[in-house]
């Protein structure tokens, strides 16, 4: 049956995704209310800004600004710390290795054989390290404030075929389920005396075959059942569909898009200078 709503278009059912396994934090802030396409534009502009430029002050300023933005949107420190926990080590490695592999300028702080640690290279290393964190936080802004349904809906409105969007939504929805299935499978094999994790890397990789093959079989059965379940509920690729919660650009979206446009201009000017 075709939808009865006046607005026609494409929508991913909101019950297809699970809050587990995603970074979304449900709040009622203005950031959450923004259209996902606006936030995607912001992320894209942020990437342009951060990749076109390498000034340390810019990296620090962006990091501070994005933290303020997240806190303003009531994102808890625990979620912010989650990203720090996952980025600090790689950033530290970049900071430590950068001056060794890219020595530049003067004064030289430490000189030993071919290693020359200079003040400019340390600054560059710090900037490169912060850039990685900044890029991760730019994406976090989108993911913590947009639930998976709206995210996929935004991608569909930007031109992603609905069938692909539905596939993506289902994939995201089933991640926790597959994780749970994998845990159950490993439990089932352990209960038969299976005990991986000893010997060489290849030996250990081969030891996982009983769990992985069972997981693939379970996933295939699941996808088969899901395909039939979708068909049984009238899903047919290419058919027009009704929209329950259509995406709509509000005034705040206009402001943010405008600010993103200015940010893009600033990124280009900072990098290439005024014409």
């Amino acid at each position: 049956m075709r939808g009865s709503g006046s607005a026609r278009g494409r929508e991913i059912g909101s019950n297809l995704v699970s809050p587990q396994f995603d970074l979304y934090v449900s709040r009622a802030s203005w950031l959450h209310r923004l259209d996902p396409r606006t936030k995607m534009a912001f992320v894209t502009v942020s990437f342009a800004l951060l990749l076109l430029n390498d000034q340390l002050t810019l990296m620090v300023a962006y990091l501070v600004a994005v933290h303020l933005l997240l806190r303003q949107a009531e994102i808890p420190w625990s979620r912010i710390r989650w990203l720090w926990d996952r980025t600090w080590l790689v950033s530290l490695m970049i900071f430590l290795l950068w001056p060794i592999f890219y020595p530049s300028g003067e004064p030289v702080l430490v000189g030993w054989r071919f290693i020359q640690i200079t003040v400019p290279s340390l600054v560059e290393g710090l900037s490169a390290a912060l850039r990685v964190i900044d890029l991760a936080f730019a994406v976090l802004v989108l993911l913590v404030s947009t639930d998976q349904t709206r995210l996929v809906q935004g991608l569909v409105r930007l031109g992603l075929p609905f069938e692909w969007g539905l596939g993506l939504a289902i994939g995201l929805r089933y991640l926790p389920l597959l994780h749970g299935t994998y845990q159950t499978i490993t439990d089932a094999q352990r209960a038969r005396g299976w005990s991986p994790g000893q010997g060489s890397l290849i030996r250990r990789a081969r030891a996982y075959v009983p769990a992985l093959v069972a997981l693939v079989i379970a996933a295939l059965r699941l996808s088969d059942a899901l395909t039939l379940a979708l068909a049984a509920r009238g899903f047919q690729p290419g058919q027009p569909r009704s929209v329950r919660r259509p995406l709509r650009m509000e005034r705040a979206d206009g402001w943010v898009l405008g600010a993103s446009g200015l940010l893009l201009v600033a990124a280009v000017v900072l990098r290439f200078g005024l014409p």
């Binding site: 089932a188 352990r190 209960a191 005396g193």
Partner: protein, 281 residues
């Protein structure tokens, strides 16, 4: 006196450290007994079963398996003592043939080749799987897949067998086959613990019933004693087998109201009729 097969002392378990699944459960399962674990969904049945083979470790309390502290043994070590049948056969099957699927556990536990072959052939025959021995288990029908998982567990012949919803989705023929095979092991001294929602099976096969409700042990008694307590069953959201319900409704005629099986009911009715006939004559 021999050590209990499984002994749980004041066991607590919380999923993710917060959601309580078991709250202070204590029970002793004697070796060679046939015990049913019942309760509504989420009552803690599977959690209790998984504590017995080390897949879960209690947050508080103690689990002893065959007299040994389960905490000191890995799941693989406990697999020699405790076999566990999972609810879904697709969570286990992976081997290219049924034969290899059954051999998997035997290889893990280091059986010598001669004994392995002997057990393999015996198990295939016992479960009527000879014709499917060289076929991939994953492509078999549900009933046969279930049978393969049961067979692969029975081949190990662990002293304790935990069957989690063993008959779910099986027709009566396969259910009967599974129970008959379980009886063979039981008669040779193996302990059978089965988690189920099927009260008819509990009434007809179990020697003891553990009733769980919201993570607590409500009752630990014989099927007759448990099914004879309608208030207890109502509290645990359990429904007695139809024959017990009939027996309860006929209490006014002089029946005890706790017949767990058709045989017990018929026997009681026959005694009642005989007593009445005697009184009349």
């Amino acid at each position: 006196m021999s050590e209990p097969a499984v002994e749980l002392s004041n066991c607590h378990y919380r999923y993710n450290g917060t959601v309580p699944a078991l709250q202070g459960v204590s029970c002793t399962i004697e070796p060679g007994s046939w015990v049913a674990v019942v309760g509504q969904n989420g009552s803690g049945k599977t959690t209790l079963a998984k504590l017995c083979n080390g897949l879960l470790r209690p947050h508080a309390g103690r689990v002893r398996v065959m007299g040994q502290d389960a905490r000191r043994q890995s799941v693989a070590q406990l697999a020699r003592q405790v076999g566990y049948l999972f609810q879904n056969p697709d969570h286990q099957l992976f081997a290219p043939t049924v034969r290899e699927e059954i051999a998997f556990g035997l290889d893990n536990l280091g059986f010598d080749p001669a004994e392995k072959e002997e057990r393999l052939e015996e198990t295939l025959k016992l479960f009527g799987l000879e014709a499917f021995a060289e076929r991939p288990p994953a492509v078999l029908g549900y009933g046969l897949r279930r049978q393969v998982t049961v067979a692969s567990l029975f081949a190990l012949r662990p002293p304790i067998l935990i069957l989690d919803e063993p008959t779910a989705g099986l027709d009566w023929g396969r259910t009967k086959l599974l129970l008959e095979r379980s009886r063979i092991l039981h008669q040779s001294g193996h302990t059978i613990i089965f988690v189920t929602h099927n009260m008819r099976l509990v009434a007809e096969w179990a020697e003891r019933v553990l009733v769980l409700h919201k993570g607590r042990l409500l009752a630990d008694d014989t099927p007759r004693a448990v099914f004879g307590q309608p208030e207890l069953l109502a509290r645990a959201a359990l429904s007695p087998p139809p024959i017990t319900e009939l027996s309860q409704r006929l209490r006014s005629l002089g029946l005890r109201g706790d017949s767990p099986s058709v045989e017990a009911f018929c026997e009681e009715v026959a005694q009642l009729v005989a007593a009445r006939s005697e009184a009349i004559s």
